[in-house]
Symmetry: C2
Subunit: 144 residues, 2 copies
DNA sequence: CTCCCTGCAAAGTGTTTGCATAGTA
DNA sequence: TACTATGCAAACACTTTGCAGGGAG
């Protein structure tokens, strides 16, 4: 792995207090780079090594990360928010079968032009979402 | 307005039963074309003309519309789903200030290419979201 | 006449909030 | 030592579900 970035430094750099809970959450993201998890998925993953981790704490930590621009929060159709690292700009590929989100870089974004936008609107950012089926799901289902 | 399409016909064409509730909801969408509403916003808008409209019914009607591909359901960060017409393919412009979503057509979508997608993944669709500030909010806030 | 939709109300789920305690700087 | 994060549990908001009565086909 080339994970030269430590959770500790990342937290310090953003002016956040370094606590075991925050380090664990951040480390999970750093380890499973490009992946996204719900608050409860994160808690379940960390419970073995941190049995006391409270549900509320998980949410507060993630909220704090989002506020510090460390993480992005992604709303899913089933009402659950997914969280992922936001260290560098990127877009997403969503597997419509398993529901997982993957970070991807995208070329050609500069060529996008909105047509018939309400006059005087100001565009500040563009987010691209590819939908499809991930390799794992394709392998599992075979056809379809 | 060139709304030659009637709610009644639209419902029939999709094999849905024609009820006053469904007609009202669909008419709201046809009238405020390109706009998006939450289930409760829709209910509030229709209550004057349909005082008995139940919260549960609103959700069921919208669910049915989504199933029939008449509407799209859009998840927002604050946990509320927005619904909009889906008569023709389109993308979205989101005002980050007032939170409203607007349908827009986009050129250049074919030029988008994901980089370093997991091998054997299959892309089936692309969704583009422009973020920014709508004309109304720009007019209201002046600067920034 | 049959089947489905509506209204009503209760239940469910994900998330937020408040407070006392423990931990960081 | 001062201030903030954690754990716990209650509170919240949006959405879903079940059932009896009424309306569509």
């Amino acid at each position: 792995m080339s994970t030269a970035i430590s959770a500790q430094n990342l937290l310090r750099d953003r002016g956040l207090r370094v606590t075991p809970q925050r380090q664990s959450v951040l480390n999970l993201f750093l380890t499973e780079s490009g992946q996204h998890f719900s608050a409860d998925q994160i808690r379940q993953r960390l419970l073995p090594q941190m049995p006391g981790l409270a549900r509320g704490t998980t949410y507060k930590v993630l909220q704090e990360f989002v506020r510090a621009a460390l993480c992005e929060e992604l709303a899913t159709p089933d009402g659950v928010s997914l969280y992922g690292l936001r260290l560098r700009p990127h877009h997403h590929f969503i597997c419509d079968q398993c529901g997982r989100w993957f970070d991807v870089e995208v070329t050609g974004v500069d060529g996008l032009r909105p047509v018939a936008l309400p006059p005087d609107s100001e565009v500040r950012d563009v987010a691209v979402f590819f939908h499809g089926v991930c390799s794992e799901c394709r392998g599992a289902s075979g056809s379809a």
